[in-house]
Amino acid sequence: MNNKDLFKTIGYVDGNLVEKANTARRTNKRTYAKWGTMAACAALVLGVAIYTSPLKTSLTNSPQISQQTPVSAPTGVRKILNYNGFRYAFVSDGAQFKFTGMKPEKSLGTIDFDINQEIGKNNGGEVVEKDFSSTFAVGGKLYEIPTYPSQFRIAVKVEEHYYLAEIVAKTNDSTMAAKEYLDMSNLKEHAKDIHVLNHVGNDVLKKMTDHASVESIIDGLYSAKTADLSNKEYEAIAEAQSQGKSYQLKFNLKDGTYMGMYIIPELKVVSMGDAYYHLPDTFFKQSGDLFSGLKQEVLPLY
């Protein structure tokens, strides 16, 4: 017997014990309640912040995309769709959005395939990578958003409601260079300011509002190299996240929405979509004190 056989064997232990372990929690309920409440508040604050922010920006003349429904509880599997060889994730876990000052009119097709429903069929595996397949809003129509001619973000219309989906990777999992991602998102053009938040995103630690500095940060991201991470590096990222060394880099966009990345200054890595990228030393030199002296309270990762 080897360790894999033993692992498999453990799979056959009494189901009642397994079920109990599934709901087993820490015995110190008071601490748990505190963290639980904090996490719930964090989720609520984030949801409400996104939900209300368009009201503040609606006075501007640029076309706006405003979130109409709060983010649902961030516990389930994220919602994805495949289009044109790219994997898109639904923004704010499938919240509804409203377009003001522009209308998505150019039709791109219909989501014909439900990834969930294809289970059990012979071609189920293929559908996972097939264009016009989705785990959400099946039957919905895809539209190009006028401010995203690159289709980095697309709109999904179901009945009279719009949802937003944003590129996170290529469906064949081939690498996406930082330049390709940044060019498609046209971040330099869209970004208004940058906020650095704690990892869970409920606490703004620093703000960068000066336009030239914002541009310089985005320029710096172009120098990021696709990271072919080793096991040790993956472990280091996981450890950094659990130790509170990972931060959210939030680019507030002129249309009222935002784009998020995760950055771990200590490891010099940044995430764009689903991929990680290495940042050169020069990026941190040019970013001034944006990433220095950051501190966050470590929240448990569930």
Partner: protein, 185 residues
């Protein structure tokens, strides 16, 4: 829908069985697969295969606990895929979990010790029933659900080093217990 109703749908060969299973257990199975494969897409694929596996095995099988039955299929499928993903240098923490289990074995690959899985599993269940409840749950979170040390530490409000030490002692106790039961793994 409760589990017995879902199982009835499987027996009636009603395809909504899969839909109902997915509604109730997709997140549960995805978490288990993700702990082993560390990749969303692969985990999704694994969970879809799990549901297909359930469709093919019920009937004739009648799971006593649908959750652990599905979880077990997910673990087995994910484990089989693990070798392939290893070539892509994907999982990291799961290899540590497997390495830890070497503590319960007399040698890393003892080809002479071929026992019936379910028979040993029964002994492991008996062992787990005899130990402290927290230690039992910590053991199962690590070696059944493949949770990371950080997740377990958070869940049980203990430090990671305490988690490691509980796991180490439990593995050693398990090895002794199984030896007494006549198993030399």
């Amino acid at each position: 829908m409760d589990d017995s109703e879902i199982i009835q749908l499987y027996f009636a060969r009603n395809e909504t069985a899969i839909e109902e299973t997915s509604k109730k257990y997709r997140n549960y199975c995805t978490k288990i697969a993700h702990n082993i494969l560390s990749n969303f897409e692969d985990s999704e694929e694994c969970v879809n295969d799990t549901f297909l596996g359930a469709w093919e095995t019920i009937p004739p099988k009648t799971p006593a606990k649908l959750s652990s039955f599905l979880g077990r299929i997910t673990r087995n499928i994910a484990l089989n895929k693990h070798d392939y993903y290893m070539a892509k240098k994907r999982n990291k923490t799961f290899d540590t979990i497997l390495d830890e289990l070497n503590d319960c074995l007399s040698s890393p690959d003892n080809v002479e010790s071929q026992y019936e899985e379910e028979q040993i599993a029964e002994s492991i269940s008996n062992f787990l029933l005899k130990i402290n409840e927290d230690h039992r749950n910590i053991f199962l979170r690590r070696y059944w659900y493949s949770d990371s040390l950080a997740d377990i530490a958070t869940r049980f409000s203990i430090s990671e080093s305490k988690t490691k030490s509980v796991l180490f002692r439990t593995r050693k106790k398990l090895q002794l217990y199984l030896m007494k039961e006549g198993y030399i793994l």
